[in-house]
Amino acid sequence: MSTPPVAPPDSQAVQGGGVVLVVDDETRILSAVRRSLRREGYEILTAETPVEALAILEARSVDVILSDHKMPGMNGLEFLALAALRRPEAARLLITGWTAEVPARDLTALGIRALLAKPWDDAELKAAVRSALTR
């Protein structure tokens, strides 16, 4: 098994790859994720509601979708299922404060690449997004 070539985490090089859509009803989270991924060279889009996020997906293609789980209206799993219908090629990641709440069965069924715990580890987040982009 060959490991995909990944840039070292402290790489200062701005990489030219990837559009990442971050969905969370908490704006502070959006701004923190944006900070975490600042040096990764992605184009970062944010949405405060699943509905807003779906509108973005209608309009353009993205490479990675990183969604919160507990959101008003619909939860992360439901949103990612709808997102997959629009952009099946986009890698989907779920982030939640209550990982036990999300059955592993559902993750596999929905083709979710990774489940991240909130609060997240910066390095882990970066690695997960990078890994999602190389597939």
């Binding site: 009803d25 908490e26 989270i29 923190a32 008003p72 939860n75 609060p119 910066d122």
Partner: protein, 670 residues
């Protein structure tokens, strides 16, 4: 004749043309006195008619009426009043015929007529009277005999008259029915022949029979087996001497039903006694003055005394320090009011207090008058302890429910604070590198060499551009600000949460109920903000003396219930529901109203929602104690918890809390 004797009516039947002494008949009899009324008729037919009309005690008949007179005598014979025949002729045939035809006496109208007739008439009247009297006595006797016969026939006891030789002289119908013998066969038979052979108490009965010739005996109950397939029956057996001829009356009174009834009564009594003696509840009977008449063992245990020691003592000795308990029981005694499930305490002379739950009902005597009260009570010590424990558990369970919501709320700020910290560390590293360059520039400036200064300045500018220093400074400040705000949020949540893991200790304190409601709404609100729009409509409230933590728990229970009711209604449809919080001033108190637009409560569940452990929620979601705990908390405050609900529309809970005299008193300086 005495005054009390009735007037005697004498009827004279005489031809109009009577002559001689006979013509004096009416005059002679008229002299007998006012008590003798004399009337006259001139024909036998008139006489008969008059006699049949009644009221005639004696007829004086003139045989001179000829053949009519003879017919009249025959007609009156045996049915009418006595007839005294009078005749002027002393001829033997006439007199003999008159006697033969039924005349009671015959008087010849000779020279002595005026003297003889009154004597004869008076004698006849006396006899007639005596005869009438004897007839009445005989009639009375006959009636008495008829009555006796009826009694003997109808009495539900088997009777037999026995001769001295124990032979049966007569039996009544009941006897023939019970022992299946006919009266004809029974008469003359010996008792041994009639009573079934092998009958166990027969010997005893015969023994009694021998005894009975000396004195009257009675055998309380004897089970006789009538044999012939009939079921055994019980009898009261009695033997009585009837007369000096040695005749005996045997009375067999069937007491089988009475015996069964007695047995059933005894069983019932034993059964009731068993229950009363062994029931876990204390049972107490007091008279109208509250003196103990009865206490079952459980009551004896709680009151700490044996029945003999307790009886007659006043229940107020134990209830005196408990106004509510005393008040209720007094109302039962005075007004006959029933109440159930009241909570009060029993105070022992030692000062020890036992919490009890008590129900009272008036006790009525046979005439329906109130003679006291029955009280049933339970020692609630253990239950109270358990309740304390359970309500603590319940609170913990509610907190567990909250935890998921709260964790999410804490996780979000923790998430971005954590990420921001990492980022700020990176920013600091960038800024340190920049700062190093600044140091190098300062060193160059110190040399005064412009080329070196320029080179260092360029390097600084390049690094500044590389790290995007303007952005870093601005974003550092922003990240710091956001993190501070996040940590502030966490601090609040933890503060609110902490209040629910505390118990109220000691006395009531003056508190602002709005504040209690708001703190609770804040913490519960975080977990339901996606599903629920919380509307607040607060009216200014006076501070009241209360247990604030307990009230917060009530509000939390109501809010969590409202939230769950909405969740059940909207499911995952993405719709939201509404919870409306109101505070209101009410006459004599304040009210907190929590209404929701949830699924509502079915009418059949409404009466039970305050019962402990009543829940319609899945296992694991609460123990069904939320509302019952809330109810008892509100009750402890002397308030009321009311509910209105309509399935599909929503529910409305109103907590009413009364103002106490303490609340209006000047508030102490804190």
């Amino acid at each position: 004749m005495t005054q009390s004797e009735p007037v005697v009516h004498v009827l004279i039947a005489q031809a109009e043309h009577a002559a001689g002494p006979l013509a004096q008949t009416a005059a002679i009899l008229g002299r007998l006195g006012a008590d003798v009324q004399v009337a006259g008729v001139q024909s036998a037919a008139a006489c008969l008619e008059r006699v049949r009309a009644g009221g005639i005690d004696l007829v004086v008949l003139d045989l001179g009426l000829g053949s009519e007179a003879r017919e009249l005598l025959s007609a009156l014979r045996g049915v009418g009043p006595p007839v005294v025949a009078v005749t002027p002729e002393p001829g033997g045939d006439v007199v003999r015929d008159a006697f033969l035809l039924g005349a009671a006496e015959c008087v010849i109208a000779g020279p002595e007529y005026g003297r003889v007739l009154p004597v004869v008439v008076l004698e006849q009247i006396r006899r007639w009277r005596a005869l009438l009297e004897r007839g009445a006595v005989e009639q009375r006797l006959r009636r008495l005999e008829d009555l006796n016969d009826a009694i003997v026939r109808a009495i539900p006891a088997a009777l037999a008259v026995l001769g001295p030789d124990a032979r049966v002289l007569a039996v009544n119908p009941e006897f023939t029915r019970v022992f299946a013998v006919d009266a004809a066969r029974a008469a003359g038979a010996s008792l041994e022949e009639i009573l079934p052979a092998g009958l166990l108490p027969r010997e005893r009965l015969l023994g009694l029979l021998r005894e009975a010739t000396v004195r009257e005996v009675e055998l309380r109950v004897s089970t006789l087996d009538p044999g012939r397939g009939a079921a055994a029956r019980s009898f009261d057996v009695r033997l009585a001497r009837l007369d000096d001829d040695g005749r005996l009356l045997l009375v067999l009174w069937d007491v089988t039903e009475a015996e069964q009834l007695n047995r059933r009564l005894a069983e019932l009594k034993r059964y009731n006694e068993n229950i009363i003696q062994n029931m876990n509840s204390a049972l107490l009977v007091v008279d109208r003055e509250g003196r103990i008449a009865f206490a079952n063992p459980t009551a004896q245990g709680i009151l700490r005394g044996k029945l003999a020691e307790l009886r007659g003592r006043s229940i107020w000795e134990w209830l005196s320090d408990t106004p509510r308990g005393r008040e209720l029981l007094e109302r039962t005694l005075r007004e006959g009011v029933r109440f159930r499930g009241a909570e009060t305490v029993i105070t022992h002379p030692s000062g020890q207090v036992v919490p009890i739950g008590i129900s009272c009902a008036p006790l009525q005597g046979a005439n329906g008058r109130r003679i006291g009260a029955v009280a049933i009570f339970q020692d609630l010590s253990e239950i109270k302890e358990l309740q304390r424990h359970v309500s603590q558990t319940e609170r913990m369970a509610s907190i567990g429910q909250l935890a998921a919501g709260v964790a999410h709320e804490i996780n979000n700020p923790m998430g971005f604070i954590h990420a921001n910290l990492c980022q700020m560390a990176e920013y600091l590293a960038d800024l340190r590198r920049l700062w190093e360059r600044v140091g190098e520039l300062q060193t160059a400036i110190a040399t005064g060499r412009s080329d070196q200064i320029r080179a260092q300045a360029e390097k600084l500018a390049a690094l500044s551009a590389e790290v995007d220093s303007d952005f870093v400074f601005a974003d550092f400040a922003k990240a710091l600000r956001e993190s501070q705000e996040g940590s502030e949020r966490i601090r609040h949540i933890v503060q609110d949460l902490r209040q629910f893991s505390r118990n109220d200790s000691g006395d009531r304190v003056l508190a602002d109920v709005r504040e209690c409601l708001d703190t609770t709404a804040n913490i519960v609100g975080t977990m339901m903000k996606h599903t629920v729009v919380l509307r607040k409509d607060y009216e200014e409230l006076p501070r009241i003396r209360c247990y604030p933590m307990q009230l917060k728990q009530v509000f939390m229970n109501l809010l969590v219930n409202a939230f769950q009711a909405i969740q059940e209604r909207v499911g995952s449809s993405g719709e939201t529901g509404e919870i409306h919080l109101e505070t209101r001033r009410r006459p004599g108190g304040i009210a907190v109203v929590v209404s929701d637009s949830g699924i509502g409560i079915p009418p059949e569940n409404l009466p039970r929602i305050f019962d402990p452990f009543f829940t319609t929620k899945e296992v694991g979601i609460g123990m069904g104690l939320g509302l019952s705990t809330s109810f008892s908390i509100v009750q402890r405050h002397g308030g009321a918890l009311r509910v209105e609900s309509q399935p599909g529309v929503g529910s409305r809970f109103e907590v009413f809390l009364p103002l106490t005299s303490d609340d209006t008193a000047p508030q102490p300086v804190a």
